[in-house]
């Protein structure tokens, strides 16, 4: 009889321990999943330099067009560093406007395009149907020492442009309201591309 009572209590304790372990593992899992997001939002608060990979399409200081590099916000300036090239930068105080957009591009560049063209029986077209990817575009307007307006366009991974924009806004850059509409239109364009 005593043995039965002991085993019953033991199984209850086991069940409780299992439950606790389950809750603990769920909590750890949640913390792990939210950690990257926490990291990205903390960047602006701590003042640590923010950087992300980007492709410079045109217009930024003396950077080479269509060059890939690291876009960073540090030392009160927006900097772009390409591999093996001196970094180019624009002071944040000179930035006048930022706008975001979305583009749907074919992946693989010219080699892929040529490969698709050369593929027999038009099979390259089928590949083209799936070989495209959405990108964010970050458009900046800034002025030089003489007051001349410059424009620059960067291409970033989907979702990254918003983070850069927030980072720049945290540093005091303002956005013209007219671009809110155009950003919506840009999204509509991507929708048009998806059709």
């Amino acid at each position: 009889m005593d043995r039965f009572v002991v085993s019953c209590n033991h199984s209850k304790t086991n069940r409780l321990a299992r439950r606790r372990a389950l809750w603990l593992s769920i909590a750890v899992l949640c913390c792990t999943l939210t950690a990257p997001a926490q990291k990205s939002t903390q960047v602006g608060d701590t003042g640590a330099p923010f950087s992300t990979r980007a492709t410079h399409l045109l217009g930024f200081a003396n950077a080479r067009n269509n060059g890939t590099g690291i876009l960073s916000v540090q030392d009160q300036s927006l900097q772009f560093r390409q591999n093996g090239k001196p970094r180019t930068k624009v002071k944040i105080a000179l930035l006048r406007d930022i706008s975001l957009g979305e583009e749907n591009k074919q992946v693989g560049g010219l080699p892929m395009t040529l490969g698709e063209t050369a593929a027999p029986f038009g099979s390259g077209r089928v590949v083209s149907l799936f070989a495209h990817k959405k990108y964010d575009t970050l458009t900046l307007e800034y002025v030089d020492a003489d007051g001349g307006i410059h424009g620059a366009i960067f291409q970033l991974k989907n979702g990254q442009a918003e983070i850069v924009k927030n980072e720049l806004m945290a540093q005091g850059v303002t956005i013209s309201s007219r671009h809110v509409q155009s950003a919506q239109q840009g999204a509509a364009e991507v929708g048009h591309e998806d059709k």
Partner: protein, 192 residues
């Protein structure tokens, strides 16, 4: 005697043909000094140009396209080597130049395309732009006005349309005099 006459006639006909074809057509009242001095005109007026921001009007043209047209225009006008200086909008140095033309660009038509559709179908999905380009003097007189088109039909991203458009605008400005511009130009790209 007969041979002499014949050779004289041949010489006369040859001289007439030479005069007719070798000399350029000239209007009766046109004197050679009235013609433009052409590219050799170092003493001719040196014009500079200021590129104004692109006016999208009521069209839904994204900001990146406007900026890309503007930036490509600055680059392409530099490439023409017809202007003494190419200024950006807002550049305070432009005020110091007496012979300044302002390039205004207004978007008239925009057809959004799709790179994917171009790659898949080849014949559809072209991105097209049509703009009205004007060169104005400081006094507001229009010296050049043209509707220019740009498109990307086969290869390249949608943004490439802005490069093609800017290239066409610069080409039109460069050739405006050579093609017999409808405006009697007080300026001439040949003189720049």
């Amino acid at each position: 005697m007969r041979t002499n006459r014949c050779s004289l006639l041949i010489a006369f006909v040859a001289a007439f043909l030479a005069v007719t074809f070798a000399l350029p057509c000239r209007l009766p009242g046109q004197t050679p000094s009235a013609q433009p001095s052409g590219r050799s005109g170092k003493s001719a007026t040196q014009w500079s140009v200021q590129v104004d921001r692109v006016d999208a009007g009521n069209l839904d043209l994204s900001h990146s396209f406007q900026i890309a047209i503007y930036e490509n225009l600055v680059v392409e006008l530099h490439k023409t080597q017809r202007f003494q200086q190419v200024f950006r909008a807002g550049d305070v140095r432009a005020g110091e130049f007496p012979n300044l033309l302002v390039l205004k660009t207004a978007v008239e038509k925009y057809t959004p395309g799709s790179e994917t559709r171009r790659a898949v179908t080849t014949v559809s999905g072209a991105t097209k732009l049509a703009v009205q380009s004007q060169l104005l003097t400081r006094e507001g007189e229009v010296v050049f006005e043209r509707t220019v088109n740009g498109d990307v039909r086969f290869f390249g991203s949608n943004l490439r349309v802005t490069h093609n458009l800017a290239h066409n605008i610069a080409k039109a400005i460069k050739q405006s005099y050579l093609s017999g511009s409808e405006h009697q130009p007080r300026w001439s790209p040949g003189q720049l």
